[in-house]
């Protein structure tokens, strides 16, 4: 899959990488899980089917205008990185990675604000790419 992401997400990734390289172990763990999530998305052959969710790739029940998905990882006692993404229907092998966050301290409240943040970003991606969903 090709992965598109916002410039801000790239900056976040840069910052986490810098912190990890300077010896911050928590940042190293976050970087590992974020990179793993992106690698999982890149290795997908197709967009996932809602009926075939896995533990690491599930659609977000709090989705609103767009069906959002989240990528997670095996349990870690201190870090819970969740990557939020969207698969443009009919776009073939493109996935839009929107943002990632460590929800270890937030809990599932994290998901309550996901759609409000993600939906306008998807609108922006659609404007930039001229994507139109076919009926």
């Amino acid at each position: 899959m090709d992965i598109d992401w916002p410039v801000d997400f790239g900056r976040w990734l840069d910052r986490v990488e810098d912190e990890a390289r300077s010896g911050d172990e928590r940042s190293r763990t976050i970087l590992t899980f974020a990179a793993r999530a992106l690698d999982q998305l890149r290795n997908l052959a197709d967009a996932p089917d809602e009926a075939v969710e896995t533990a690491t790739l599930r659609w977000v029940r709090q989705s609103r205008r767009y069906r959002l998905w989240r990528v997670s990882h095996a349990f870690h006692p201190e870090v819970a990185v969740r990557l939020i993404c969207w698969f443009p229907p009919g776009a073939g092998t493109v996935v839009v990675a929107l943002f990632a966050a460590d929800k270890a301290r937030l809990g599932d409240v994290f998901y309550d604000g996901v759609a409000a943040r993600a939906d306008p970003m998807i609108d922006q991606w659609k404007r930039e790419t001229g994507y139109e969903e076919k009926p």
Binding site: A35, R36, T56, R58, S72, F75, V96
Partner: protein
């Protein structure tokens, strides 16, 4: 989509190249490989749960599908799902030959058992009632 946006350029960029560079670092690649192994195991255990019940009953997906009145593919998808209605779960369990299915929870040391077969029953007695 460009890798290096100009100020007027898109808010979105293609990230594959950045990911490649990240994973070209042997230490990061090793960390990610280990994280993949953990994630794969989590997915495997998640997918195994329902299939394990079917296998314990020595049934194939085709046989369960026949009992449920659906195709084998539907059973396969069901076994891969991370979430489902309790009624769907109950149907699957009874199709595998289970004659009792319940959810047991411990609340403040008190064991509470919910009979899945009676959850939709109007006369169901709430164990918390």
């Amino acid at each position: 989509m460009t890798e290096d946006p100009t100020p007027e350029a898109a808010v979105f960029v293609r990230g594959n190249g950045r990911l490649d560079r990240l994973l070209s670092d042997p230490r990061i690649a090793a960390d990610v490989a280990q994280a993949h192994a953990g994630a794969d195991e989590m997915d495997r255990v998640n997918a195994m749960n329902l299939a394990m019940i079917r296998k314990a009953a020595q049934m194939t997906q085709v046989e369960v599908a026949r009992k449920l009145g659906v195709g084998q593919g539907a059973v396969s998808r069901l076994e891969g799902r991370g979430d489902m209605l309790l009624s769907t779960l109950y149907s699957y369990l009874t199709a595998t030959g289970a004659d009792a299915a319940s959810i047991v929870v411990m609340v403040h040391g008190q064991k509470i058992e919910l009979d899945l077969g009676r959850l939709g029953d109007p006369g169901f007695e709430d164990p918390l009632g």
